[in-house]
Amino acid sequence: MPKNVAIIASGQTNHTSRRKDVNIPEMIREAVDRALTDAELTIDDIDAVVIGNMEHFEGINLSDMWASEGSGAVMKPCMKIATGGTTGTSVAAGAYYHCASGLFDTVLAIGWEKLSESDTTAGIITAFDPIVERLTLAGAIGGLAIEANLYMTTYGLSQEHFAKAAVMARKNAQNNPHAHLKHDLTVEMVLNSPMIAYPIHYLDMCPTSDGACAVIFASEDRARRLCPRPAWIKAAVCRHNHPYIGDVWWDRSTLESAAIEAYKIAGITNPRKELDVIELYDPASYALVAWIQHLHICGPGEGGKLIDDGSITMEGDIPVNPSGGVISTNPIGATALIRVAEAALQIQGKAGARQVEGAKTALATGFGGSYWNEVFILSDRL
């Protein structure tokens, strides 16, 4: 039987477009120090470290070795996990498995990226088949654009729905001291921004950020002793997909499959009612509209309606991305871990101005190429 595991603390840098003042290990150290302070622990209390980023971005390999003085992994067990956009949730899953197995009691999960030191689009293209698919791929943006077009056409939605999601996200980000983009936008501003890849405008897309996130996981006994209000892991489910863009079946969503399995494990039968808050990995504004249907928050094509009626705003019945989400902050290797950290902050009641009042059950997702997903469900009780 796996041990019960909780998140007891987390720390994030203040994410921004260019951290000129620190190198990579120094930036990681900042997030780790904040997590340790939050937990009232020292690095000596950490049994093992799980770390990840997108290694081909910065051209710095073996981040488990290279960042060890920032991560605190010197003379400790340390494992690197790199799964693309999902790296952050994979790192979280790795830390969860470490504790659930009973082999470790207190594990530090770290995701980081310094996108200012890389070429993101070229980096992402190198994740795909060099002989057949790299030729035409335009990084994440092109891959998302073709899905956004198909979704919009299939369900008869407009670019305005996506623009409304972008406005909402950047408004939520204003409540988050760690968020990167906090602009006061209007739908017109989004629609009038340059069309970078039809139907995605510049202001619909996530930024490239520098930042790190660190999350401390603990086994049940340790969590109860160290933390007055731990965020318990109820489910952690991953679904991968085919490697070729041409093989991906858009009607067989990895997100939906992972969510169904996670709901089953967590005993959730009516997610719209039972979830209090969602931290969704939304790489572009259309994803915020489109992917909530895969989480069974609405029916097929009804995401636009939830945008129109305010259901997923901070005032709605199921707020999505109080943090501002990925389209406000995107240090890629950290991005999915930030979703988990933010979900835990909501459960712990420590989310400050972005707190959803009385949040007891939260869902977080990670998304990566080619179209795979991870789903976490956190709760205030076991």
Binding site: T136, L137, N149, L150, P194, A197, Y198, G246
Partner: protein, 159 residues
């Protein structure tokens, strides 16, 4: 020693040339050679579930059955979805900026179960719609090298 914080921390530029050579394998080699020598798009058919996939491969992506039979697919098909890419970026294929705008098409080739990504010549959004018929345009004899670029692009063949 001056202990004041630095006003301007340094950036160190590094430009590395990293050459790679990839083995295409027997199945994809045959696919590339058919593009080069016969202007044909090859796929493999699953012995167990009859699905047809391009690029050709050893194992079916649906039932994990063996794929031994080569079949020709296309050269016509339909637009499964598309985008027009407007933003400039460095192409890791060439190391230089990819020319924009370009049409990015996901094509449902006739006779094929999965889809095929390629360039689309048309970039005027008012002339494009999902479901439209398209056709592969091959480079002329003597210019094909055994690469997916032996198809220069796809063009729209119905309004």
């Amino acid at each position: 020693m001056n202990q004041e914080p630095l006003e301007k921390p340094l950036y160190i530029n590094l430009h590395a040339r990293l050459p790679y050579a990839y083995s295409a394998g027997r199945y994809v080699s045959r696919f590339l050679i058919a593009l080069r020598d016969e202007c044909k798009i090859l796929a493999t058919k699953c012995e167990r579930c009859s699905i047809v996939l391009t690029p050709p491969r050893l194992v079916c992506n649906q039932c994990y059955g063996p794929m031994k039979e080569f079949v020709e697919v296309g050269p016509q098909g339909r637009l499964a979805t598309f985008s027009v890419i407007n933003f400039p970026f460095i192409d890791p294929f060439t190391g230089v900026e990819r020319p924009v705008p370009y049409g990015y098409a996901i094509i449902q080739l006739d006779g094929c179960s999965n889809r095929f990504p390629h360039f689309l010549r048309e970039t005027d959004l008012s002339r494009l719609r999902i479901g439209q018929r398209v056709q592969a345009v091959f480079k002329p004899d003597g210019e094909r090298t055994g690469a997916v670029t032996d198809i220069s692009h796809f063009e729209i063949i119905e309004p």
